[in-house]
């Protein structure tokens, strides 16, 4: 599903954020991406949904090379990848409902189908009562859950989650991670960048550890710390 070859990312200011990253993630896999703050986890995820381009190296998603992707194809790639952003990236002037619905509207779904799917997913993350609120009227954890809802609402084949439980209490975090596991079981490849040691150690999956932009560990059913 996702193949990364000799990836290297140097930011314009000269900082080397990723170096020599090789990674193969098969369809329906569930991978934890761990590493210290600044290790390069978000940088790697950004490259997967083409929010940024690598300095060198190749990324293949479903055997399609991202570097060969025409600009016009980028929106379609992004629709096939649900992203839970570390900083949520909600539209401030749209209600919760509209924020989640937006991901379906860009795909020209019918109003009734949008309504059904959005209501369903908001229930899943426990925010059905906050449907008509604006993001600024929500708590940090609630905002994070809208972002999660938007990422999963159209059942994308790939789900990238960047610190999806950073603002959530342990119980809610647990529920959300269970939800991601369930989604993974329904034929979705899931990559989760996280600092949540408790969850990585409890819900055991493949763990890929980054350090200073390099992969230093990659083990099935791994732990947060080696």
């Amino acid at each position: 599903m996702i193949r990364i070859k000799r990836l290297r990312k140097v930011y314009p200011n000269g900082f080397v954020a990723l170096e020599d990253v090789d990674l193969h993630i098969t369809r329906n896999e569930f991978v934890y991406l761990v590493g210290q703050s600044g290790a390069g986890k978000s940088t790697l995820l950004n490259m997967l949904y083409r929010a940024d381009v690598p300095t060198s190296g190749e990324i293949y998603i479903d055997n399609i090379s991202l570097s060969g992707l025409a600009p016009k194809q980028v929106p379609y790639l992004r629709r096939s990848i649900g992203v839970i952003f570390q900083d949520y990236k909600l539209l401030p002037k749209r209600t919760v409902y509209e924020n989640v619905a937006f991901a379906l509207r860009v795909m020209h779904f019918s109003r009734s189908r949008i309504r059904r799917q959005v209501t369903q997913v908001l229930e899943l993350v426990g925010l059905q009562q906050k449907m008509n609120h604006y993001p600024s009227e929500l708590s940090g954890g609630e905002q994070q859950r809208i972002c999660i809802a938007r990422a999963i609402v159209n059942n994308p084949p790939v789900l990238l989650a960047d610190e999806p439980t950073g603002s959530l209490d342990p119980d809610t975090s647990w529920e959300i991670m269970q939800l991601l596991s369930k989604i993974n079981a329904r034929q979705t490849t899931v990559v989760v960048a996280t600092h949540n040691k408790a969850i990585v150690d409890d819900i055991r999956k493949r763990v890929v550890a980054l350090e200073h932009g390099r992969i230093v560990r990659d083990e099935q059913l791994g732990l947060y710390h080696a």
């Binding site: 980028v74 929106p75 992004r78 002037k93 937006f102 991901a103 860009v106 938007r150």
Partner: protein, 293 residues
């Protein structure tokens, strides 16, 4: 298609409603600059109206030699009428002219001294193009039957060049103004779009195509442009009719542009400029603001 249009339209309305202050400010700016533009159009229309009015009064007087017989007049008249740019030819009998002259100069006690009419027969030619007067005068002077052509030529020449250059200056100013209005409106819309840059990039990140993002902005630009134009036109037409009334009362001899057709054309121009610039500004702004991957 229709579903998409309804969606884009409702998106545009939502964003107008939710960015209230910003939209209000940009509508204000747009209508103010359209008012300025409209004022310039009205002024230049009035100036050209005025210069038409002056040139319509321009005439050339041709004085005939004494030996020209009364019977030659119709043929001469036809000859003048066939000349290019001559709109009207009027014969002035020397007796009528003498009576007029005596009426115009009552201080000269001619009547008592002189019973004989010293004036020649003449023609009054009305010219359609002020710029053509000098060449016309030159060609008339070559005729054998003509004694003398009135010295109005130089004056006509002056009015002609003046009105021509005023017209040119007017055109330059109006095009400058159009460009300025264009710049102000486009800039204003750009500022509102730049302020929503973050939103646009979020939309792109969740898979919206450029055209999907662009359409609501274009419709929004259109709505803003229309509202701005309508406000401007209301102000202009109200203000102008008020001004015309005042001006006509005070300076009744100066002809002001009254023709509703011409006025409507000006208002239509303002409206068109508002809407077109609204759309164009939005299109341009979004195009410059979206990330082209």
């Amino acid at each position: 298609m229709i579903r998409d249009f309804i969606f884009f339209f409702s998106e545009a309305l939502i964003s107008i409603r939710r960015s209230g202050l910003m939209i209000a400010i940009s509508i204000a700016t747009i209508s103010v600059s359209l008012v300025i533009f409209g004022i310039f159009l009205l002024i230049s229309a009035n100036i050209s109206n005025l210069s038409n009015f002056f040139s319509a009064k321009l005439e050339v007087r041709v004085y005939l030699k004494d030996q020209v017989a009364q019977t030659d007049i119709p043929q001469l008249k036809a000859q003048f009428e066939s000349m290019p740019h001559v709109r009207k030819v009027e014969f002035i009998d020397r007796d009528v002219a003498w009576d007029d002259f005596k009426k115009n100069f009552p201080t000269i006690k001619l009547n008592s001294i002189l019973s004989n009419n010293p004036l020649p027969h003449a023609f009054r030619l009305t010219v359609s193009e002020t710029e053509q007067i000098p060449s016309l005068v030159t060609s008339i002077r070559t005729l054998k039957t003509v004694d003398h052509v009135s010295e109005m030529g130089e004056y006509a020449n002056r009015i002609a060049t003046f009105s021509k250059y005023t017209r040119i200056a007017g055109i330059i100013l109006v095009s400058l103004l159009t460009m300025a209005t264009l710049l102000i409106i486009v800039n204003t819309i750009r500022l509102t779009v730049i302020a929503r840059q973050d939103e646009i990039s979020i939309m792109q990140l969740v898979g919206a195509t450029v055209s999907f993002i662009r359409w609501p902005f274009i419709i929004e630009g259109l709505i803003i442009g229309i509202i701005g134009a309508v406000i401007a036109i209301t102000f202009l037409s109200f203000g102008y009719s008020l001004l015309v009334v005042k001006f006509q009362q005070s300076v009744p001899f100066v002809p002001m542009l009254f023709d509703q057709m011409a006025l409507n054309l000006i208002y239509l121009t303002v409206f068109a400029l508002g809407t077109i610039l609204g759309i164009f500004g939005a299109y341009l702004s979004v195009s410059k603001t979206v990330q082209h991957y």
